[in-house]
Structure formats: C-alpha cells, structure tokens
Amino acid sequence: MMVTGTGGQGLITILQVISEAAMAEGYDVKTSELHGLSQRGGSVEVYIRFGKKVYSPLIPQGKADLIMGLEAQEALKGVYFANPKTVFLVNRNIIPIPLKKPLTEDEISNSLKKISKNVFMVPAKEICKEKLGTEVVAGTYLLSWAVIKKIIPLETSSILKALKKVIPPKHLELNIKTFELAKE
C-alpha cells in the first residue's frame, strides 16, 4: 500500500503502526520513506508492503492494493501505482498550493473512478475536527477505517498494540479515541 500527503501529516507514523502490526502477525515487512526536503510542506509518499515474503520496498508500477491519500490532490500521485482493483481511500481535505487553483473533490474523485471503482472519499478531517477537536489524527482515522473495513488485512487488536508501541504516551489516548471513532 501507499500513503500520500504533505509534510507534517504524520505519514511516517502510519507507516510505523502498520509495519509493527504486520510484523507482530508474522508477516515479512518492507517500507520506504523519504526525509529531508519533503518535510518543508512538499509532497510526501511512503510505501508499505507486507506478506509472506517481500523483496522490494518500492511498489512496482500498477501493483498497489491500497492508496491512502491524506490530502485529496496528493491522492492523484498514487495513480502511477494503481490498477482497476486498487482501493483509493481519500481524506476529503484539500490543502491549497500557493499560486495554483486547487482541484475540487469532484474532479479528483471522478478522475480516480476512471481508474478504479473502489474510490472512497472519507471526510476524516471533518469528523476528527468535530468529534475530537483536531484534524491531526485524520491519518489514524483513515488507517483505522481501512482496518475495520478489512481493506488492510490486519487484526484491529494488532493495530491497537502497534499504536501503543509507536505513539508517544501524551498523544496515545487521542489516537485510541480516533480508532474507536472509526468503528462508528
């Protein structure tokens, strides 16, 4: 699977949670991430692969099972890795780019639907803001949503354990609440 977004949206935390949960379930795991320039509000993409045996940390073109976009325009970056069966899970959140006209949610979802029928535009940002008072956990919400809907084939208990391992204690409660919220 691939996660796209912008610097500071917590993509690496999501990567850590999924890989810890997958390892705990006995899977082989490989991931790839980028550091440095991308932290300055640029586009970020990370790749997470788990299974019986994983060689490459990069997803081969057209081979992604799941593309999670923490920002809707950035989800389009995943198209290179998509095939007609790929699930797109997109946060309904558009972060404008200076001097450029942002794409609309409809434009984005229509484009994605031409590639795969499995496009889910989820208002994670709005739900988290309304119910938890902050949108920083939108990534955790999407991740939980994907696990609960069995799009990510990992047990909810493994994800909860991984959250406890990866998230610093002061933010843990908020993330667990987010996980519970995604069940609703």
Binding site: S43, Y55, G62, E74, L103
Partner: protein, 550 residues
Amino acid sequence: MLMQELLDKNPGKKILLGNEAICRGALESGVQFVSTYPGTPASEIGDIFFDLTKDKNGKGLYFEFSTNEKVAMEAGMGASFSGLKTLIAMKNFGLNVCIDSLLPFVYAGTKGPTVIIVADDPSCHSSAQSEENTRPIAYLAHIPILEPSDPQECKDFVKLGFKISEQFKIPIVIRTTTRVAHQKMPVNLDKMERSDQKIAGRFVKNPRQFITLPPRVLEMKKELLEKIEKIKSFSEKSHLNKIEKSSGSSRMGIITSGISYLYSKEALAEFNISSPVLKLGFFYPLPELKIKKFLKGLKKVLVVEELEPFLEHEVERLAKESNCKLEVIGKMMIPEIGEMRPEFVFSAVAKLFGKKYHQPKNNLQISVPKRLPQLCPGCPYWSVISAVKKAVNPDEVIFGGEIGCYMLFGNPPVSMQDYLFCMGSSMGIGHGIKKATGQKLIAFIGDSSFFHSGIPALINTVFNKSNPLIIILNNETTAMTGHQPHPVSAGSETGIKIENIVRACGVKNAKTLDPAVNQEEMVETIKDFLSKDDVSVIIANHPCKFVEKK
C-alpha cells in the same frame, strides 16, 4: 525509533530504518569514535549518536558533529591512528569535500578499524547540485566499497566492514542509497560488544605509516595495491558475493547489487522465472574469478545496476576473458538517470526471458499540481526576503544561492536565486561574477554553510578585492537536515561570533541585526552596502522557530 529500542540488549527482531541498522551494527561492533556532518540520506546516523551520547548510554563512546565532512574525516583519522574503532558518516557530496584527506588516509591505512558511510541519493530526492554516484571513488582511492541492499545487510555489512578493516588495516566505505538508508524491515539484533570504559587511545609515533612524503609515499602506494590484491582474494571467498543457482538449466543470468538486487528478485518472482543470480556485496575489489565462473556457459547476462554502468563495463571486460560470445545487457534496457524502479527491472527481465509484461499506463485527464517545498510559516528567512524585496528591484540584482533551507528562495513566489551549486559556493562564484561584470550581486549563505566552507571564499573577496553583498542567514541551527548543532547554534559554548570572524577576515562593512525586529534597518543596510566599493556582510540573526521552541 526510541533509543531504548535501538539499545535493546535482548536478541530478537526489531523494525529498523537502514540508517538505524547502521548505528546498531556499529554499536554491536563496539564503536568508540563517531564523527559526521549532517546530510540526507545519512543524517539520522549523526542524530542517533548525538542523542545517544547525551547521557550515560553514551559511555565509552565519543561523538561529534564536525564543522564539515573533511574535518569529520580527519577527526576520524586521528581517532583511528590512536587505535579507536571509528565510524565516519556523510552524504555523497560530503565525500567530495574529503577526498584530499581520504586518498592519503587509504595509503597510510588504519590502526583502529574504520568504516566510512557514504549515502548516495539517486533521483536527488534530498539533494541539489548533481546525481552523484560515489562508486568510482574506489578506482581513485583504492578503497574497498561494500553495498548493502536492505537494513539487515546495513547492520551486517557494518560489522563485517569493521572486521575487514581490522584484518587488512584499511578504511572501508559502505555505500548506501536513499532506498536502502530509508528502507525499513525487521532486523535481527545481536549482542553488543560495547564497553563503558573511558576511551583511552594512544598515538604511537610511526613516520613510516603517518608521513606521506616521497619517496616513502610511492612505497605506500605499492603496499596499498598489494593489500587490495589480498582483499580481492577475501572478496572471492566472501559470502557477500553470492551465486544463487537456478533450479533449471537457464543460460540467462543476472548480476546485480544494492537495491537493484531486491527489484531483480521481485521481478523473477513476478514472472516465476528461475535464473542464476550473482549478488555482489563488494563493489571494489570485485571477485573477478567468481564473476568469470558465473559467466561461463551463459548466453546472456543482464546487469541490473542503478545509475552509471560501472559494473556493466567490468562484466564486459571479464566476459572477454571467460566467455567471449556472451551478450552483456545493461544500460540498453535500464535507464542511467534517476533511481532504479522495480518496473524497469520487470520490463528488462520480461524481454530477456521472453515473458509478456504490459506496463500499466493510467492516463489522468487532469494534471496534478506540483507541491514544491516552501519555507515554513514563521521562518525568519521570510523577513530577509521581504527586506531584500523592499531594498532592491530583484530584476537588477543577481542572487547567489546555497545549500540549506534558503535554497527554497528559488521557488515561486520568492524566486530570488540565480545560481545554486554546492556548499560554500555562493560567495566564491559571486566573487567571479563581480570580477567579470559590473552587476549588483547578493550572495546568501547559511550559518552552518559559512562554517562548513564559506570562510575561505569570504577571505578571497577581501584578498582579491570584489564587492558582493553577502547575507549570512544565521538561524542558529543546521535546519534543513533536521536541526543539528553547529559552532554558534543555540546553547553553544564556543563564544564564537560570526561578526568577529567576518571582521577578522578583513571585511570593513559588516553589521549584525535581526531582520524580523529591525526590518527598516535591514532594508537601509542592504541599500547602503550595495553601493560600497568593497565587500560587505550582513549577519541576519534570528533563530529557526524550531530552535526557539526547544
């Protein structure tokens, strides 16, 4: 990754980043001295040792962020010559800065085993200036190079690197690339050989080893080449260079190394092909006999290699000696520019083995807007930008850029960068332009870059009399690579003041001010200094907001 996780004494598996695995490997080997200058994709190595040596965990270990990579290399040389187990880390461009010290270091050889980590960045994900491939440094310096494919190998190769260095008394380079350094996987932890005894190295005088004057230096070269022959025999027997046999009788083979090995394995699994694979852990010296043995009887060999075809050329050369009818395929199918990708290997393997591979192509009807990195909101550099824009017409001034957060000045809407090369170069090139033209010029340089390699260029503007305006952006940290400390960073006890250095270099027009607080004064000073007949320097002091928070 939490420090206690990385220091876990219990055996077992932990998910580690390539760079974390390198640190763990060094700790398991009992490393005593670590020096570095930050540079992505190698930065985490320094960050980890910096954190580690803040408290009692760091007993028995010395760490420093040096002012530049050359100084880091020289510090490591001194430690090795005094018998310490030494790790030196940098990104590829850092090694360029070190070459002057590195070459005679390899001649002299080590006392304490020494491993040098060099991280390349194919596709320039975190690099400006060039898509550098460090491999040919092996030919230039006669230094062994090992290339891991994944974090487990990062750890194992560091440990083996120390062993080879100890056995042959030579420094060893471990070359990673972004997809190795920033790859994660479960890694097996082993026992740590660390001692928390106080470091007690001793330098024993030995002019034959440590003085590289002629005629002795030519003897040293001979000894080095003999050493390399011995390491070549070691490389022939090493499990790092392994032949994976095929189950059938395939007359096609694959030779590969580093990240390309993983993509090759993925491709073979994808098409369900059984083909012999020669996986090279050594780039230099190559196990030539093993390669020749592998080539014998093959009809075609695919060299799966990222960037320039150094390995391919070696294979072509060796094929002439062992299998002159062999067809060597490499760059005719695999791009030379940009990082390797699994689909490139899929396509090449499919062609070679007669399999069908339809490269999936999704056509998007809309174009995805590019999200370029920007200076953070609240970055003190914004106040420098606004002052410059108030003081001058940007069309009438040349702006010299440099490596650091401020290289983002080149992106719109700021668009204030007319040339950008390597660290320390904004002033050096600016001086040349000033000598060649009468155009107005402002050269930007960051605080860490100024200490890294700016000072000689500043002295040159005074010595050879040119009049650029230099703006030193002092945000009190090495921000771009993750806020590492430097000589005048927040909390530093050096007492060094940039303005004192600038004045000591002979600059008469120098002013230190806070552009966020004294915006008007900044604007007036820029106007005033640009009209001077000799060089002028503004030191724009305001801490990075992430430093303020600490």
